[in-house]
């Protein structure tokens, strides 16, 4: 899957769940500082991505997600490992 497709999905979920504008959701945007999301918001966002991509993200992995780009990386990695399994 292309990185841009994953970014689009993250953007779509962020707009729906965090009530932010689409152009705020860039790879560099930090969930906390830029998108006003707390850890509960992030958990919900990742749940939406799990459903969308059919992946599982352990709670421990969320600690490394600070920016939108980190979330894209996480999804790409899970998709990659899923494909190679």
């Amino acid at each position: 899957m292309e990185r841009s497709e994953v970014l689009d999905a993250v953007r779509e979920s962020a707009v729906e769940l965090l009530k932010v504008e689409p152009d705020q959701v860039t790879e560099q945007a930090a969930f906390g500082e830029d998108l006003d999301a707390d850890s509960l918001d992030l958990t919900e966002l990742v749940m939406a991505l799990e459903d969308r991509f059919g992946i599982e993200v352990p709670e421990d992995d969320l600690g490394d997600v600070r920016t939108v780009g980190d979330a894209v990386d996480l999804v790409m990695a899970k998709l990659g490992s899923g494909a190679s399994a």
Binding site: L17, L18, K19, D36, L40, D41, T43, E44, M47, E50, D51, E56
Partner: protein, 426 residues
Amino acid sequence: MSDAPSPEAALDSRGRPRVAVTGMGAVTPAGPAVGDLLEAVLAPRPTAAPIAGWDTEGWPVRFACEVTDADLEAVLGPKESRRTDRVTLLGVTAAAAALDQAGELGCDPARVAVIAGSGVGGLTTLEDQIGVRIARGPSRVSPFLVPMMMVNATAGVISMHWGFTGASLCVSTACASAANAIGEGMRMIRDGSADVVVAGGAEASITPTAMAAFARMGALSTRNDDPAAASRPFDVERDGFVMGEGAAMLVLERWDLAVARGAPILGELAGYGRTCDAHHITAPAPGGAGAVACMEQALADAGLAPSAIGHVNAHGTSTPLNDAAEAEALAKVFGPEGPPVTSTKGVTGHLVGAAGGIEAVIALSCATRGLVPPTANLDTPDPDLPVNVVRGEAIEIAPAPGLSNSFGFGGHNASLVVVPVEGAGT
């Protein structure tokens, strides 16, 4: 009211700080404002209707008094509202209206407390998420379930939204919750632990499981073919209460501080009684013993004789048992020639943990206007009930203190005495 304290007096006849009501907000099935509520109860215009919020096919009770025309996201905004249960949105919306009316408090936020009552809290969210857990497993349960369902969420969110850092409490005494919250708030001001208290209640439990459960108890009216006639307190044909939802919040304020800042003084909260039947988890004590003690306590607290009460806003749920026990209790407290009694639940339905809040708003407003609302649907007063219940049209009385009763499952009883002030424009 010749023995009433002067408008300037900071202390009551027992030397305690007087408590002013400086703001009132109510979001009810009658509409999003206090004025909508008063207009509906004085008409009287029942608000019960078929449930719009979910498909009631197959449910034994298919109607309720729902809040349908309020913008519940306006105060917190779309993002916070998404992660807040309906019960808290109702409570916050009522609090915003009350605080808007009270105006700039101009005091240290640490001196502002919040006491918000609710019977069950965020039941909509809990019920939805139990469904999610059963259908999709534990990993799909929302991370917002706990903060949305917890019964203290409304108090916490009100404190947080306005930055009030004084005590923030939840009172959960079923259908007495809001009246207990308001009464305990009054006591906080008297004991000096707060200068301002935002107090009231919120409820949003018109959910499939709650409606099934209350129906299984036999507590609800089953008049599905005529919802508007279903809530009929003190009527011989009453067959249960009608579930309602909504919220009401009062701003209570130390009298002298309210006077000093030029606040709108809508009335005085002068008496509070609270007792427990200690009899049965849902049925009232025979003869309304707990209710008698509660009303007597509230009158004594206000320093008023029963004869000083101009009208009573009864708990009057329209269940056979409540109305019988309450009527007997009223006769014991006030004698055969007692003040006119009304139950506004004929119009609003029973807002459970918010009921005492909206009824405190109605009682104070009507005491001030000198009007007692008629009890909707009271076509044939139950001949076994020794009580003078207003029916047909509102009646005029001289402005005088009013008594509002709230009784809850668990045996919880709460009574409030509200006193009008001259010139209040409620």
